[in-house]
């Protein structure tokens, strides 16, 4: 038998090795294992937590958060200062420097 004939014979043997193959079967108690897994997976929060904890989702969320922060930071920087506001008046209003009552206004200081 020549080398080519031998190769062809082997190829045919290999190609025919799956003829009359028996079907593979699941291990015993497949249904029990399936129901148990379904019980574990059924919670919405479990699925949500699994989704959020995916690295790609978490990373995207962080990048988005940083982008929003940077946007707010830079958009605030660009707004012109409010010249019209009297800083002292604002301060006085904030800390209630003005006298509100008659007694306060007529106080005789030593």
């Amino acid at each position: 038998m020549t080398s080519k004939e031998h190769t062809e014979k082997r190829v045919e043997e290999v190609l025919g090795s799956l003829d009359n193959v028996l079907k593979a079967e699941t291990k015993a108690h497949f249904y029990t294992r399936l129901r148990s897994r379904m019980g574990n997976d059924e919670g919405v929060w479990t699925n949500l937590a699994a989704y959020i904890s995916r690295p790609t989702v978490a990373l995207t969320f962080i990048v988005l958060l940083l982008a929003i922060n940077l946007f707010i930071l830079f958009s605030n920087k660009d707004t012109p200062p409010e010249d019209s506001v009297d800083n002292m008046t604002a301060l006085a209003q904030e800390y209630h420097f003005e006298r509100n009552s008659m007694i306060d206004q007529n106080t005789i200081l030593p």
Partner: protein, 192 residues
Amino acid sequence: MGSFNETEFIIRLKRKEESAFRELVDGWKDKVYNTALGLLQHAEDAEDLSQEVFMAAWNSIDGFRADASIGTWLYRMTVNRSLDLIRKKTRRNRLDFIRSFWAGGGKEEKEASDFYHPGVALEKKQDATLLFKAIRQLPEKQMVVFSLQKLEGLGNEQIALILQTTIGAVESLQQRAKANLRKKLIEYFEIK
């Protein structure tokens, strides 16, 4: 599951009857598992995937349209999910290879370990392992058609329904799969 009324069975499944689901699993678990095993060539992955197929079937039965039989629907889900997993694993292997390359190792891309199908006779085990190795290298559709025909024993008509294609296309894929396998095996024996 030949003589039973499929329409009624689907209605029972849509009503979420536990007994109907049990019948579905008992009737189809081995077919789903055998199909997944043939494509994935990994027993644990095939078991996991079979469970996922039934879970998906249970959760999406409301959306099931009777344009295909329930068996075709299950086969289709099994094939699609198996292909998704194979693609995912291929991507992961490539990433691992790139990582090891940059880490200075430059190791060869990890090759899947030898697969022994439990249904193959002992004297044909070595040859079958070689054939499974060659099947792994086939293009996706050729691999699916060859696997469904050889391992699950499905006819061209049913394979066409599962893959949502024509019988002619299935025949063509079968011929190309055999030609490619022959070519790969000749190469293997000539190098050897």
